[in-house]
C-alpha cells in the first residue's frame, strides 16, 4: 500500500472540524468572560455601596451620641478622614451652622433625602472623576430644629479592580480550555478514522476482487461512500464481463479464417498441379484479407466501446464538413467498386455535438458497408439533413439489393451477418456504428430505402438539448 502524501490544498478533516469548532467556542468563551465581568462588577458595586452607607451611618451615630452642637467630635473626624482605598470625599453640614467639616470638594445630591429616613445613594462627578456618593440626613439630637447632612463619596477605581483581577484569572483558564479542545479534536479525528482500518485492510488484501464492501463493518457515516464504491465496482464487473465475452468472440471470429488458411496452405503444399495451388492461393488471399479486416474492425469496436478515450471528447463540430471530407476520401474506393458515391446536403455548417475521430469511424463503417453491399453500378448517397427543430439526420442510402425486412432489427448486433449475404463481412461494421451513435446519444435507424437498398439513418439530438 502506498502512502498518499498529504499534499497542500488537500482538504483535511481535522482542519475542517477545528475551523468549525473554533468560532463558536471562542464566541462562547468571550461571552462567558463578559458575563463574569459584569456580574462581579455588579456584586462589587453593591458591596462598596453598603460600605459607604455603613460609613455614613457610623458618622451619624457618633454625632448623635456626642451631643455637641455645631461641631464634630474627634472620633467622628477620625472616622471621616481615615480611608485607605481610592480618593475619598466627605461633607458634614448643619442646617443652622453651615458646613461643619468637609474635604476641599465634595458632591452634592440633586435632591436631599428625607431626614431620619433611608440614606440616598447617587452618582456624581468630582474633579472630573465619576464618584459614587451617599447622603444621610437626621435631626440634630443637640439642637432642636437643626438638621445634619452627612455626604460621603469615593472614586470608582477600587470598584473595578476586583472584576479585573477575576477576569485576569479567568482568561488563561479559558485559553487552556481551548487548547484542550483542540488537542481532543486532533486526537479524536484519528481515533474516529481508525474505525476505517478494518475496511482498508480488507481492500488491501484483495487482489482483483470486486465484491461489495458495504458489509465490512463500516461506520454508518461512511455508508454513502461505500455504497457509491460498490456501485462503481458493480459497473466495473459488468464492463469486465463484457470485455471477456468480447475477447472470446474475437478469438472465435479470428479462428475461423485461420482454420481456412491452414487447410488451404496444406492443400497448396501438397498440390502437384499449378491450378490447384493457384486455387488455394486465391482462397488464402481472401481469408487473409478477411482476417485483417476482422482485426481492424475489432480494434475499432473496442475503441468505440471504451469510455476512457482521449479522442472521445464531445465538442461542437460541423457535421456537413466532416461528412464531405469522409466521402471525398472514399471516392476512389467507390470508383474502384464501380459505385457512384456522392454527397447531398448543405454547403453551410451543420453543428452537432460529437467527437470528430469517432464520427469519422462511424462514417467509414457506413460507407464501407454501403460500398460492400450495394453492388457494382449502383449508387450510394451520404446526406446530412438539418431539421427545423435543431436535430440533424445523417443518412447513408444505396439502391442495391437491401436487407430482408426480418433482419433489419438485427442489424447492429455484434457479429450478426445477414444470412446468404456476400462473403467476407465481419458482422462488426454496423455494431461499431451503433456503439458510436449510442456514445453520441444519437439514434440509429435501419430501413429499406424507397430505391430498394439499405438506408441507415443516424439522428442527432439538438446540440445542448436533451436527447
Amino acid at each position: 500500500m502506498t502512502e498518499i502524501p498529504a499534499g497542500r490544498g488537500r482538504p483535511s478533516l481535522r482542519l475542517r472540524l477545528l475551523a468549525f469548532l473554533m468560532v463558536p467556542i471562542l464566541a462562547l468563551l468571550l461571552l462567558a468572560a463578559a458575563v463574569t465581568y459584569v456580574v462581579v462588577l455588579n456584586y462589587d458595586n453593591k458591596e462598596h455601596d453598603e460600605e459607604l452607607v455603613t460609613d455614613a451611618r457610623s458618622v451619624a451615630a457618633l454625632m448623635r451620641t456626642e451631643r455637641r452642637a455645631g461641631a464634630l467630635s474627634p472620633q467622628a473626624r477620625y472616622l471621616l478622614a481615615f480611608e485607605t482605598e481610592g480618593t475619598y470625599y466627605f461633607a458634614v453640614q448643619s442646617a443652622l451652622h453651615g458646613t461643619l467639616s468637609s474635604t476641599d470638594r465634595y458632591p452634592a445630591p440633586l435632591r436631599l433625602p428625607v431626614a431620619d429616613d433611608a440614606p440616598l445613594l447617587f452618582d456624581a462627578v468630582v474633579d472630573e472623576q465619576p464618584v459614587r456618593a451617599v447622603s444621610l440626613r437626621f435631626l440634630s439630637p443637640n439642637e432642636s430644629g437643626d438638621i445634619i447632612t452627612v455626604t460621603m463619596a469615593e472614586t470608582l477605581h477600587s470598584r473595578k479592580r476586583l472584576a479585573r483581577e477575576i477576569l485576569l484569572v479567568t482568561l488563561p483558564v479559558q485559553g487552556l480550555l481551548i487548547i484542550g479542545i483542540l488537542a481532543l479534536v486532533w486526537v479524536g479525528v484519528s481515533f474516529g478514522l481508525r474505525s476505517l482500518d478494518p475496511l482498508m485492510r480488507k481492500l488491501a488484501s484483495r487482489e482483483h476482487g470486486l465484491d461489495a464492501i458495504t458489509d465490512a463493518g463500516v461506520p454508518q457515516e461512511i455508508l454513502p461512500l461505500t455504497r457509491t464504491i460498490d456501485a462503481l465496482f458493480g459497473r466495473l464487473r459488468e464492463a469486465i464481463d463484457v470485455q471477456e465475452q468480447f475477447i472470446a468472440d474475437a478469438a472465435h471470429q479470428l479462428r475461423t479464417p485461420l482454420a481456412g488458411l491452414r487447410l488451404h496452405v496444406e492443400r497448396a503444399l501438397e498440390a502437384t498441379s499449378p491450378n490447384t495451388m493457384r486455387d488455394s492461393l486465391v482462397h488464402i488471399a481472401q481469408l487473409t484479407s478477411r482476417a485483417g479486416r476482422t482485426s481492424t474492425q475489432l480494434l475499432a469496436l473496442m475503441r468505440a466501446q471504451s469510455p476512457l478515450d482521449t479522442e472521445g471528447a464531445l465538442t461542437g463540430l460541423d457535421l456537413a464538413l466532416l461528412v464531405r471530407d469522409a466521402v471525398t476520401r472514399r471516392v476512389h474506393d467507390g470508383l474502384r467498386a464501380g459505385i457512384d458515391l456522392g454527397y447531398q446536403g448543405p454547403d453551410t455548417a451543420v453543428m452537432v455535438q460529437g467527437s470528430a475521430a469517432r464520427l469519422g469511424d462511424l462514417l467509414d463503417n457506413l460507407i464501407d458497408n454501403a460500398l460492400a453491399y450495394a453492388g457494382r453500378d449502383h449508387t450510394v448517397t451520404v446526406s446530412v439533413q438539418p431539421a427545423a427543430d435543431g436535430t440533424v439526420t445523417l443518412t447513408v442510402e444505396d439502391d442495391g439489393p437491401g436487407v430482408p425486412a426480418v433482419y433489419l432489427t438485427r442489424l447492429g448486433e455484434r457479429f450478426f451477418r445477414v444470412p446468404a449475404s456476400r462473403e467476407g463481412g465481419t458482422g462488426l461494421g454496423l455494431a461499431i456504428v451503433r456503439r458510436i451513435a449510442d456514445w453520441h446519444h444519437a439514434v440509429v435507424e435501419f430501413s429499406n430505402s424507397v430505391h430498394g437498398g439499405l438506408r441507415v439513418s443516424v439522428h442527432f439530438a439538438r446540440p445542448g438539448g436533451s436527447a
Binding site: A300, R303, E311, R324
Partner: protein, 224 residues
C-alpha cells in the same frame, strides 16, 4: 528510384521488396531503427517506406530526425497502430502517407506511385496526366506535342484539377483557383466552363469526372 525500406519483419520486407523491384525501384532494406537513421543520414534516397514498430530507434523518431535534417524525400509510413490520433501525429511529423497493416500489396504499390508522381510534380513546370502535358508557365496543354486550344479560364480549371490529381477538387476550390484568371465566376459560369473543358478534352485520354455533391476529379481514361 532508390528506395529505403525500414521493416523488421523479414517476410513482409521480402514481399514489399519484390513488389517494388517489379515497379522499377532499387530497394535497400534495414530492419533496425538505428540502421535506418544511419542509412538516411549517409546516403540519399528517393523514397522511404518506414515501419513505425522498429527495434532500436522507434520509427517516429527516425522520421523526426529525417525531417529535422531538412530532408524532403517522400515517406510512406506502415504501421499496425490504427488510432486516428496516431495517424495525425505521424502526418504531423512529416510523413506523406500512411498505410495500416494488414494491407494489400496493390494498395502499397498505388500509394508509392502516387507519392513518386507527386514528388516529381512538386514545383515542376510541367504536369503530365496520361497523354497530356501541361506547360504551366506557358499556359498551354500539349497532347502528343500538339497544342489543345483552351481559353485561359479552361486552362485554369484543368491546371487546378491536375495539380490536385487523384484528389477531389470542390467547386469552391475550383472557383477560387481560377479567379486569378477571371475576376468573377458564378456557379453557372463554372458549369459552362467545365462543360466546355470536357468537350475539348474528348479523345485526349483524360476526362473530368463529377463527384456528386462534392466536386470534380481528373481521371485518365474516357468515361461518362
Amino acid at each position: 528510384m532508390r528506395t529505403l525500406l525500414a521493416e523488421d519483419d523479414a517476410s513482409i520486407a521480402a514481399a514489399i521488396v519484390a513488389a517494388m523491384e517489379r515497379g522499377g525501384h532499387v530497394v535497400d532494406v534495414v530492419s533496425h531503427g538505428t540502421h535506418a537513421d544511419q542509412a538516411l543520414s549517409n546516403d540519399s534516397f528517393d523514397l522511404l517506406v518506414l515501419d513505425l514498430g522498429l527495434p532500436g530507434l522507434d520509427g517516429t523518431e527516425v522520421l523526426r530526425r529525417l525531417r529535422q535534417r531538412g530532408t524532403g524525400i517522400p515517406v510512406l509510413v506502415i504501421t499496425a497502430r490504427d488510432a486516428l490520433n496516431e495517424r495525425i501525429r505521424v502526418l504531423d511529423l512529416g510523413a506523406d502517407d500512411y498505410l495500416v497493416k494488414p494491407f494489400a500489396l496493390s494498395e502499397l504499390e498505388a500509394r508509392v506511385r502516387a507519392l513518386v508522381r507527386r514528388a516529381a510534380n512538386n514545383g515542376a513546370a510541367e504536369l503530365r496526366i496520361g497523354s497530356l502535358a501541361l506547360d504551366l508557365p506557358g499556359q498551354r496543354v500539349l497532347r502528343d506535342g500538339k497544342v489543345i486550344d483552351l481559353t485561359r479560364r479552361e486552362f485554369g480549371l484543368l491546371a487546378a484539377l491536375a495539380t490536385r490529381q487523384d484528389r477531389v477538387t470542390s467547386r469552391p476550390q475550383l472557383i477560387e483557383a481560377i479567379c486569378g484568371w477571371d475576376d468573377e465566376l458564378t456557379d453557372n459560369g463554372l458549369d459552362i466552363a467545365i462543360h466546355r473543358l470536357r468537350r475539348k478534352l474528348q479523345g485526349s485520354g483524360v476526362s473530368v469526372r463529377t463527384i456528386r455533391g462534392l466536386g470534380y476529379l481528373l481521371e485518365e481514361g474516357e468515361n461518362d
